[in-house]
């Protein structure tokens, strides 16, 4: 009683004090509304929701204060506040006039801020953009410098926000090394144009294949010499064998080395007789066929099916770069690919469907009592380097056509290995060149001006030329060669703010800045010559031109860099390798590189398809097709998809797949390696797909620890938590989508029962890593649920239908995500009308994703800083 009386007294007291305005700077009408309707709960004593409006200024120029008032606006506008139970609720008219006025004030304040400094803050290139820009600038398609640079800070979900793209002295030091490295990569490795050769590397002459014939340990880790399908048992029995491919061309073409495992330690087959002598383009051919190895390894017959083979470029020891994949058939097949290689790289094939033979069990899951599948490799033919100009384009940018001579070899040549068994060819790096100048002063200035004009994306200032000319001169004065001095100057240019930062002035973007924005949005790299030309003519901002250029950029293969860069953050695809499936619960996924690569590829190609074919955003929730290859189709239990190539496939009726939600990559990044959590998946879907992020987890509330012994399900554990009213308020919004996705395990395979390491019927067999399976079947999955509005669903198919009823929200979310990515700035209060306009237009266009991109590019947000 006493308490209540006290509170009543305080309420009266505050009402009295409120006869005078809050003195907070707001207009009288806003002040009146707040005093009358809000202050009871949001005063210094009650401070409900941690909000005390009596101590709260109306100071919209202050960003924290501004965002608090936005919250007030949004809560009132949504009808959440004042709470309906309050006795004297304002009427609709009062509410409307309050939100209108507040909204106008907020918009005006926000616009004033934007007018002064712009939506976006000046930002540096992120590591993706830096790498792609150097690749384009220096014509080095495989240049790898991203890993030199520290990870960029994520802000508002992306690596594009100026305020978060920091620079430290570590970053600075790494820029210097990255630039120096890239510039040296661009230089000709020798003065003479390298000759193009066509060479065949026969597996019978390749020690990495033949050394494994008598390898210790389980027989399935060995390699097997074949002629056609005839197993060469005599060679296998020989001691101190010295294998060499036959001189007889006909027989030589039939010789091959077979494996029944994929390429993994210790059976890491590679064509180490070949090392790319220089970086560049090569044409590769592989002669291979699939086989069937009879039980006991005594006889070989033609394969029963085709086998996928992935090709990697390898820099010893074991730095791998995937080049491509193809299928080999029971009859000998020659597969060809055009690839870019780095100097010194060799080639490793991997028959990816075959298992990885790991201790202690070494059990081949593909083996039957009749034998097992395998792949026989005959030869690899290399045609290259395919040189279209010498010196290479990057070198010409740096040194024009000045004469050059080979540098003297300074490094000690490698001593031959003592061991006699191994005869692997070793790569000898070329010495590099010294560029010669008869008039260094004149040449250095011409070259530097030319380079800066190309590297800088805006007109070069004379004082900047002088700065870097100064670096070059001081290098030469202290005794460095012409070449080294130039590289020092160029290094400076590539580490300078003029190169690293995207420069925009408040207000409407100049055409030059617009070209930058467009190129970094849709290509993740610098504007090309055509964009620069249009910008310099002042034509780019014209709607018809801008539209045409957007089309051109999207049609260009480089738009894949947008797709990958955007999805890496929006959908967290970059994190997919982060946590691996638990070895005990998920043996079939162990060391299955092809599966993971296919999962990533599916989502990238799916989104690319939406962009290229202007499919509706509703496809994000459900689609009648999926991008599959055989490995993924098997994972999804979809029949009749053969081969390793990913392509759009029409889904059978009633299939749970279709849309992003049921893609393995998404189900993987929303799980850890052992268990799934409806909460984690629910939050992710609300945030990333529906654009309705739930409030942050309250402090002091831990996550539920899942139990993998099979006694209880995550849903039962969560139920306790959800039943508390304070928790239920948020969880009724968060969990439903997560419940529907309980039908999918940590790698996105469909399940009706959980797996358990404790109780339950045991499963037999062995995993992709050859280790025996130990898990058993656990409790059944319950994937039904209810949306906050009361609509029920029994599984993910139902859920998708319910989500599809609001395509506008899907479009709104994607529009906001794309806008943040494209403009490098978060969505602000004053952006709301622009977003609304985009959505209205996009609706007319059937919510097409490509249309959405056009509408964003044409929006005020994109066209202004």
């Amino acid at each position: 009683m006493i308490l209540r009386a006290q509170r009543h007294f305080i309420a009266v007291l505050s009402a009295v004090t409120l006869l005078t305005p809050l003195a907070n700077g707001a207009s009288p009408s806003i002040d009146r509304f707040v005093s009358k309707n809000c202050i009871d709960c949001h005063d210094a004593d009650s401070k409900k929701g941690d909000l005390d409006l009596t101590a709260f200024k109306f100071d919209l120029a202050n960003t924290t204060n501004f965002s608090e008032w936005v919250k007030v606006h949004d809560r009132v506008a949504s009808g959440e506040m004042p709470p309906p139970k309050k006795k004297e609720c304002p009427n609709a008219k009062e509410l409307q006039s309050f939100t209108n006025e507040l909204s106008a004030d907020l918009t005006a304040a926000d616009r004033a801020q934007v007018a002064k400094e712009g939506r976006a803050t000046e930002r540096r290139l992120n590591r993706y953009e830096y790498e792609e820009t150097l690749r384009d600038l220096l014509s080095l398609p495989c240049l790898a410098v991203k890993e030199y640079l520290p990870e960029d800070t994520e802000s508002h979900g992306f690596n594009k926000i100026g305020d978060a793209l920091d620079v430290s002295h570590v970053q600075m030091a790494r820029y210097l090394s990255a630039a120096d490295f890239a510039l040296h990569q661009a230089m000709a490795p020798q003065s003479a144009r390298p000759e193009t050769h066509t060479n065949r590397f026969y597996t019978w002459s390749e020690p990495e294949f033949t050394d494994k014939i008598d390898q210790g340990g389980p027989l399935n880790r060995r390699t097997f010499p074949l002629v056609g399908y005839a197993l060469q048992t005599n060679i296998m029995a020989e001691e101190n064998r010295k294998m060499e491919s036959s001189k007889d061309p006909q027989r030589r073409d039939e010789e091959s080395m077979a494996v029944v495992v994929s390429s993994y330690e210790p059976t890491e087959i590679r064509f180490s007789g070949f090392h790319a002598p220089v970086a560049g383009r090569y044409h590769l051919k592989f002669h291979a066929y699939s086989i069937w190895m009879g039980h006991g390894y005594h006889a070989v017959t033609p394969g029963h099916r085709s086998e996928p083979v992935c090709i990697y470029a390898e820099t010893p020891p074991r730095v791998l770069r995937k080049l491509g994949a193809f299928d080999v058939n029971p009859e000998a097949t020659v597969n060809e690919m055009d690839v870019d290689l780095l100097a010194g790289e060799t080639i490793r094939p991997d028959a990816a469907r075959l298992f990885r033979s790991r201790p202690p069990d070494f059990n081949n899951p593909l083996e039957t009592h009749e034998g097992m599948p395998g792949v026989a490799f005959g030869w690899m033919e290399v045609d290259g380097p395919l040189v279209d100009q010498w010196p290479p384009a990057g070198h010409q940018l740096l040194f024009g056509n000045l004469p050059m001579e080979d540098r003297k070899e300074t490094a000690e040549p490698d001593k031959p290995a003592k061991s006699t068994k191994r005869r692997r060819a070793r790569f000898h790096a070329l010495p590099g060149v010294e560029v010669l100048s008869g008039d260094p002063d004149r040449d250095s200035e011409i070259l530097l001006r030319n380079f800066m004009k190309r590297a800088y994306r805006e007109p070069v200032q004379e004082e900047d030329v002088q700065r870097f000319l100064g670096v070059i001169h001081s290098a030469r004065d202290s005794g460095y060669s012409f070449t080294d001095s130039m590289i020092a100057g160029y290094t400076g240019v590539l580490c300078s703010p003029g190169f690293l930062y995207l420069r925009e002035k408040p207000g409407r973007l100049e055409d030059r800045a617009l070209a930058e924005r467009l190129a970094y949005f849709l290509w993740n790299t610098e504007p090309d010559a055509e964009l620069r030309e249009l910008a310099s003519l002042g034509d780019l901002h014209r709607t018809s031109v801008l539209r045409k250029q957007t089309e051109r950029l999207l049609d260009d293969p480089r738009s894949r860099q947008f797709v990958d860069g955007f999805l890496d953050y929006w959908l967290d695809l970059r994190l997919i390798q982060g946590v691996d499936p638990d070895a005990e619960l998920y043996p079939e996924y162990q060391l299955d590189d092809l599966l993971v690569e296919s999962m990533i590829g599916e989502t990238q190609l799916f989104f690319q398809d939406l962009v290229q074919r202007n499919f509706s955003v509703t496809n994000l929730v459900d689609s009648d097709f999926a991008v599959l290859n055989e490995r993924l189709a098997k994972h999804y239990d979809i029949a009749n998809v053969n081969g390793v190539e990913l392509r759009p496939v029409r889904l059978p009726a009633g299939c749970v797949r279709g849309g992003l939600l049921t893609q393995a990559s998404i189900l993987k990044v929303t799980a850890n390696g052992t268990t799934t959590s409806p909460v984690k998946r629910g939050v992710w879907i609300m945030t990333r797909l529906l654009g309705k992020p739930p409030p942050p987890q309250p402090a002091g509330v831990g996550a539920v620890e899942p139990d993998i012994r099979g006694a209880t399900t995550i849903r039962e554990q969560l139920a306790k938590h959800r039943n508390q009213p304070t928790c239920a308020a948020c969880h009724k919004n968060i969990d439903p989508a997560g419940f529907a996705l309980e039908s999918f395990d940590v790698m996105g395979a469909y399940r009706e029962r959980y797996r358990s390491v404790g109780a339950g019927e045991k499963v037999k067999g062995s995993g992709h890593n050859g280790i025996n399976i130990h898990y058993g079947w656990g409790l059944p999955v319950d994937c039904s649920g209810e949306l906050p509005d009361g609509r029920k669903f029994k599984d993910v198919r139902d859920l998708k239908e319910l989500l599809l009823t609001d395509p506008g929200q899907l479009a709104r979310n994607l529009a906001q995500q794309l806008t943040i990515y494209a403009t490098g700035a978060p969505i602000r209060f004053s952006d709301r009308p622009a977003i609304a306009k985009i959505l209205a237009e996009n609706r007319q266009q059937g919510y097409g994703v490509r249309s959405l991109i056009h509408e964003i590019v044409e929006s005020e947000m994109f066209l202004n800083k």
Binding site: V167, A178, D593
Partner: protein, 449 residues
Amino acid sequence: MPKQSQTSAGPFLATRRSMSRRTFLRGAGILLSLPMLDAMQPVFGSPTDAASATPGGKPRRMLGICNNLGVLPERFFPKGSGGRDYELSPYLDILKEHRNDFTVFTGVSHPDVDGGHPADNCFLTAAPHPGRGSFRNTISLDQLIGERIGHLTRYPSLTLGVNVARGQKSLSWTSSGVLIPCEEKASEVFGRLFLSGTKEEMDDQARRLDLGQSILDAVAGQAKDLARNVGARDRDRLDQYFTSVRDLEQRMAMSREWERKPKPVVHVPVPLDPESPKAYMEKVRLMYDMARLAFETDSTRSISLLLDSVNSPAIDVEGIKITDGYHNLSHHGRSPEKLAQLQKIDEEHMRLLGNLFAQLKSTHEGDDTLLDRTMILYGTNLGSADTHVTTNLPSLLAGGGFKHGQHLVYDTERNYPLPNLFVSMLQRMELGVDKFASSTGTMRGLDLA
């Protein structure tokens, strides 16, 4: 013959790249060989980390040793449930006079580091799945230390190896996953530590630093000009850039100081490198000497040492005739002859380690022995070389200022994460790190002295 064609563009466009030291060196220009710019030798953390690295001026050091064939686990692990009064195992009995200077662990491994032999690449990094196509290594413990406090000593770190073919393997990896080749000759390590370069070499290095400074001056000048006519938020960005450049310049200046300072003088002869890889044990002894001398003279605070047993022939060990290559021996299949030889080899390893402990204990620095300030992690990437398992790794930590003299026993079925030990070590160095690779905290049961 059917013919198929496919280009490399498309669904399988490679996304992961890295580069080799070899490519790297070939591409290296004058700037790359600056100590603080060499991506292989990342030197700097943030200045605050550096300042707090040696509170009270007490230097802390780390030596990480991996024998990539390990030791016979049944003779290494003590029996029982652990504690301070545990019974020494046969191997640890060789270290008995140092009993209170080390902690031995049972039931530890690096989570998800599998793949058999390639796991040695991850001994100090704990990056998962070293054999996998998408594998990329991450920064190693020694390099992280070097990056944070490397500027306090002449060398941020030393990367050493025994019987590593052409130096093309080591325990040290940069944050970009690039291998740092090791020094395999004790005489060359000695030269780097104690023999002055020629005047030309010293001038050359000074010249490089001048050039680095002239580049930094140019870009700083531009940043200053650009910051003139922009709004407050944009200016803040350019100011941050400008500050970073100035920070780096200061560090370059410190590096120049090192170039001018004479190297320490030690009164020991230049070591003689054994000719043959058979002299494996002698090479191990020499590398231990080099590590000790480097710490004694405070030339570095972070050293990694890979004992590449996999790459070693039939080695010379006193008192027994070794009949087979080290690697072949390790696949003993319980053959009594092979086990007897392996046991002799392992015992010799323990003796050498014991000698190193003794020498570090007999050297004093301030009020402590050198061992008290030097953490020595001795371990292996294989739980048992016979079966290539990468769990239950035989490992111990000696010295460095922990409460030792105990046997810590964790779950041998579901191992305790070894990266937690790395976090404890980093915290002992007061680097403000609370996470390393797959760590889940600090090492349970291991307390600071």
